[in-house]
Symmetry: C2
Subunit: 168 residues, 2 copies
Amino acid sequence: MATNGTRPLTPREERAWDGYRRMQGLLSSQLNRQLMADTGLSDADFAILSALLGAPRHRLRGLALRCEVQWEKSRLSHHLGRMQTRGLVVREECVEDSRGAVFQLTPEGKAAVEAATGDRVAAVRTYLLDLLTPEQLDALTEISGAVLARLAEDDAHLRAAAELARAV
Amino acid sequence: MATNGTRPLTPREERAWDGYRRMQGLLSSQLNRQLMADTGLSDADFAILSALLGAPRHRLRGLALRCEVQWEKSRLSHHLGRMQTRGLVVREECVEDSRGAVFQLTPEGKAAVEAATGDRVAAVRTYLLDLLTPEQLDALTEISGAVLARLAEDDAHLRAAAELARAV
DNA sequence: CGCAACTGGATGATGCGTCAACCAATGGCT
DNA sequence: AGCCATTGGTTGACGCATCATCCAGTTGCG
């Protein structure tokens, strides 16, 4: 990580990175702010709630939820704790693994997500999707595909390294 | 904000949004984590420091800095406070407007950014730029251009509304 | 069986980001 | 000159994200 034969960015790269950086910051804060104002739910709340909404009995194992939203476990745990005190979610014991936890949407939680979904979609359209041509939509899909693939690969390497370390 | 004749997302839009969302979250946390591990600087630190590095005498008025990084003023103030106690930056009085503040890079701050720049560029290449074709780079630039233009427009409307309110 | 390693998850400390309130300096208007 | 609205910036409170640590239940291996 220390040795860098890194060439500087070309103007083209510079523009792309700079644009992405600016967009990323402003867009996510705008979406977050708007959702919060419209519905009282943060982006994070919404991610959790809609994952639960999409699950069989509106209940999901902690681990499954973690895979779904890709958060660190302590973040998830803290956030679920807060959401529980707000009455959006309940924690229950897990039958097949008694150290595990299962989280379920409360009626209030369900109502909240359902109410929020429309606003969220509208905002995403307003500030992103409706601004792009079909080609740009596809380009965005491909770009994120490439980046996510790279990140996943990295992750796999980490696992492999852990495997090796265990073998020693 | 409440009435939504919003149609649901098409599959194409769905893929684009979902991809962007996932990429955004993982990419920024990866870049942040890596920069922090390599250099002890957060993404936020780096943004401030490189803005200062690019300024005339490595000094910038608070307001100018705010335009540069596009943060809320209280965020900037808090962060600069912390950076000052870490010795990366100094706050000085402003001559032409005595309620203003000027911030300057300390030698340590300068050294820190300069050391960090290479790592940052390398990481951005590894996880984003090197994964994309030239066309994708341009697409990214256009996409962010469109989004930023929309956000700016919104901003202008807000200003105009404020103007109107003043006129009443 | 019994012990060690691992795993799902919780917790506490700490730094960050946002909001609202605040303060003093400034500039415009009469 | 005098007043009021505005602006540049700070502060405090509060919720969120991360790290390290911890704990109990589980699994694998001898």
